[in-house]
């Protein structure tokens, strides 16, 4: 005998109205993370002073610090976290595997090879970012072409191709670390762990994040169906191969921009979509915006801690994303088990 379950309430919580409080709470959390990021730092700024700066009433050092340093960095952090969470959720549907993350198709390896290659050549700044972006795109098309081959690409074939190409990039990264100049090693390691201190303007990332989110949410119901398999989705009227190509290209572009901003920040893209699912949002039209908010928030908080916890020494943000994310994820998992 199975225990009787709750009476039929028509699963009405799938409607956007029921998810609104949760999305609102995540938006408030995101705003809170920005407030924390603007407040915390080596130059002390009181809350009152911060409000005055934001209202435009105050000039001087505080204004410079908030608008020139802390806000762009928080925005870059939010963009990175949001991009990775969105790309992760999309990749999980694409390869129909909950263990997929944005890097599963080798994008981070390609980006790392490009960025580290630039560093080995003694280049810096925009060259490193450009190298990362070029490497990420090269890997995207390489995996796409190899997995496509003749005939169709099943999720398994795509996943295997991605894993193998990523391993190849891994070898190249190790090689670059071994032959690179001693003095550049620290910068390279920081890049590999994910670091926002060298992030350029957050604006392109934020714009792409917004556009990518709108596009992905538009495809949301098709993603819900595709999650059950290619054939069932096709039988339900989804243009499967076109949709898969669209997801692949979109997720790869989002990931490429994220690694260009901050190097390969791990964990966010894998775990944030699961956290959102554990919070009860499964419909991709709700899961994707929620993932962007939570991913962005997680990275803003992690980066703020990374630059303040051991100040004046800065940690790479990748250290903190896992340090915050792991207990959070385990808590949600335990909570779910207790509920069922």
């Amino acid at each position: 005998m199975r225990p009787a379950s709750a009476p039929v309430t028509a699963g009405a919580r799938r409607l956007p109205g029921r998810a609104a409080p949760l999305l609102l709470a995540l938006a408030v959390l995101a705003a809170g993370s920005f407030a924390f990021a603007l407040y915390a730092g080596t130059v002390p700024i009181a809350w009152r002073e911060l409000l005055a700066v934001l209202a435009g009433h105050q000039q001087g050092l505080a204004r410079e610090v908030v608008f020139k340093l802390r806000l762009p960095r928080a925005a870059a952090g939010f963009a990175t976290g949001g991009l990775l969470a969105l790309a992760g959720a999309l990749m999980q549907v694409l390869v129909r595997n909950p263990l997929a993350d944005p890097y599963v198709l080798g994008v981070s390896g390609g980006a790392a090879s490009g960025a580290l290659g630039a560093m080995v050549l003694g280049l810096a700044g925009a060259w490193v970012a450009g190298g990362a972006f070029a490497g990420a795109l090269a890997s995207t098309f390489l995996v796409f072409g190899l997995a496509h081959g003749r005939g169709s690409w099943s999720p398994t074939r795509l996943l295997l191709t991605g894993v193998v190409v990523a391993a190849g990039w891994g070898a190249l990264v190790s090689f670059l670390l071994a032959v690179g100049p001693q003095s550049g090693l620290r910068g390279m390691l920081f890049w590999l762990m994910g670091d926002l201190s060298g992030a350029g303007s957050p604006l392109p990332g934020l714009i792409l994040l917004g556009a990518g989110l709108v596009l992905a949410v538009m495809l949301g119901r098709q993603l819900n169906v595709l999650a059950h398999g290619d054939m069932p989705a096709a039988a339900l009227g989804v243009p499967v191969s076109g949709l898969r190509t669209a997801i692949y290209l979109l997720a790869s572009l989002l990931t490429s921009v994220a690694v260009t901003l901050a190097g390969s920040v791990g964990f966010v893209g894998l775990v944030v979509p699961h956290m959102v699912r554990l919070l009860g949002l499964r419909d991709h039209r709700l899961l994707l915006p929620a993932s962007v908010l939570l991913g962005g928030t997680l990275l803003v908080v992690a980066d703020t801690l990374a630059r303040t916890a051991f100040a004046p020494r800065q940690l790479p943000v990748g250290v903190l994303t896992a340090a915050i994310g792991v207990p959070m994820f385990l808590y949600l998992l335990a909570r779910e088990r207790a509920a069922t």
Binding site: S5, N97, H228, L236, R277
Partner: protein, 255 residues
């Protein structure tokens, strides 16, 4: 109006001929059983009828139009498929899973409305899963998951339901109950059923048309009087059969 029609349909999997020059007419309220040995291509034929696989020759028409002339959502409103296996890599409730059947009926921007919930709930009720609507799919038993798959295609409400072994994983009672439900609904609502079945006796009891695939490109179809003969069935399965008279007509037992 004929719901599904094939003309000169030839289906082949590598070296295996599934059917040659098949002319089939599926009319409203008909219940078809597709019978044949393992590996005779029953599933492949079903996928071809659903437009998921191109035939080697011939055409499949849904109503008047060839199926490759219809847009995917239109085709999905006309033909629904229950696959042999289900895959649920991500968490979802039974209700959420039944609701994906409504996908082809909704516009790109549309959310599921009260009518969609009503149809999904009715489908869950029909397969006896109404109390499980909010249950997580991964907590369902194999048979319950199978009935949920049927509920999804019922919620889809297509004119033709192509069901690949709908009684898989079901116990004896549930097999009879499900086939009763499906055939009763199809006859009441003027839909057509095309089901791959392995139990000749259940097929004979619930279906009125039979398609026999012999695994070498030969196929026969017609009503029970035309095709449910001992010699044909013995050829079909490569096994000697005995028939026993029952209240539902003759039953077939393997010798």
């Amino acid at each position: 109006m004929t719901l599904l029609q094939t003309q000169g349909l030839t289906v082949r999997i590598a070296d295996l001929a599934v059917c040659r020059d098949l002319d089939l007419q599926v009319e409203p309220a008909q219940c078809w059983a597709v019978l044949g040995r393992n590996g005779s291509g029953k599933t492949t034929l079903l996928h071809t009828l659903a437009g998921l696989r191109a035939p080697e020759a011939g055409t499949v028409r849904a109503g008047e139009a060839p199926i490759d002339a219809l847009s995917r959502p239109r085709l999905a409103r006309h033909i629904g498929v229950l696959f042999q296996e289900h895959s649920d890599p991500f968490p979802a409730t039974a209700m959420e899973t039944a609701l994906i059947g409504r996908h082809p009926h909704l516009g790109p921007w549309q959310w599921e409305g009260p009518r969609d919930f009503e149809l999904a709930r009715q489908a869950l009720l029909d397969v006896g899963l109404e109390a499980f609507a909010e249950r997580e799919v991964h907590t369902l038993s194999g048979g319950e998951r199978r009935r949920l798959g049927v509920a999804t295609v019922l919620a889809q409400a297509p004119g033709v339901l192509l069901l690949d072994e709908p009684t898989n994983h079901l116990d004896l009672h549930q097999q009879v109950r499900l086939l009763e439900l499906l055939t009763a609904r199809a006859r009441r609502e003027g839909r057509a059923l095309v089901m791959v079945l392995h139990d000749i006796n259940l097929a004979a009891r619930f279906c009125d048309r039979f398609l026999l695939l012999f695994g070498d490109g030969r196929c026969r179809h017609g009503d029970a009087d035309a095709v449910l003969h001992r010699d044909l069935l013995e050829q079909l399965y490569g096994h000697t059969l005995e028939s026993v008279a029952t209240a539902h007509g003759p039953a077939w037992l393997p010798a």
